[in-house]
Symmetry: C2
Subunit: 149 residues, 2 copies
Amino acid sequence: MDEATASIYFRFFNEIGILEQLGRARLEARLPKGMIAPHFSVLNHLIRVKDGQTPLVLARAFQVPKTSMTHTLATLQQRGYIDLRPNPKDARSKQVWLTPAGRAVRNQAILDMTPDFVELAKTFPREKIEEVLPLLENVRSFLDKARDP
Amino acid sequence: MDEATASIYFRFFNEIGILEQLGRARLEARLPKGMIAPHFSVLNHLIRVKDGQTPLVLARAFQVPKTSMTHTLATLQQRGYIDLRPNPKDARSKQVWLTPAGRAVRNQAILDMTPDFVELAKTFPREKIEEVLPLLENVRSFLDKARDP
DNA sequence: ACTAAATAGTACGAAATCGTATTAATGGAG
DNA sequence: CTCCATTAATACGATTTCGTACTATTTAGT
């Protein structure tokens, strides 16, 4: 691979990194005081996919060490956003369930983000974003499958 | 804005977030033991843009608090990748200069990443990536300008 | 059934990140 | 020139992230 081609891929991931940082800053500005992006991401995942999943499954979904997930879940539980119950199918394991407060704080955060999306849509209409989403999802899926489990 | 449209933008940033995590994991797997993505990013920035910049300028470029940049730079200096010298134009300030070791470790990391790009290119040819880069850069620029300095 | 390997979660400590407060230097108003 | 608000960097402490080691439980081989 020639250098110019490699630098295209490099720039791609570079842009992804900067966008993530800027997007995360925006998100956290809309979250309740003290709530950070990983907290929200877990709540959002539990709603989007389903709750009742085990901490390990969540850790894998987010590509973080299970010790990190333990810490995140402990914080969310302390604040009353999730319940950690024993897993009836495996006594080593647990299940993560959303509380009404957890659902509420996630839904409110989504509402609070809408003005930002409206602002963004003035310059980047929905169609522009929809054009690039498939590639992003495919690259994500590719990298996701390629990692050693 | 209707909910379906908002969810397009939400999904966009969601994909960005996951891609960043997967991309960062890949990058760090290619870096020398103990070197993490922010270390590499700073070295890379100093080469791509220029060295001799002040810590505060770097903190702003990376959108991190200046205390975080102080810590990152201290680590890079400890490992001999940068020199922190007094800023002749402002005695409160410093300048960050790359050492030959710093340049070398960055260039080697880039080389080590090429096989990953080659693998990626089999499924996602350069042209596909080039198609989406402009939008990513424009959204990044938009968010960058919209933040309160 | 019995033992060994694998698995789920956590305790613990190191490193990173970040907010607040502090120190030193600058620069503008008078 | 003097004063003081602003700025650059850091000290410090709280929280997050993560690697290693450990405990409890399950699974698989015999």
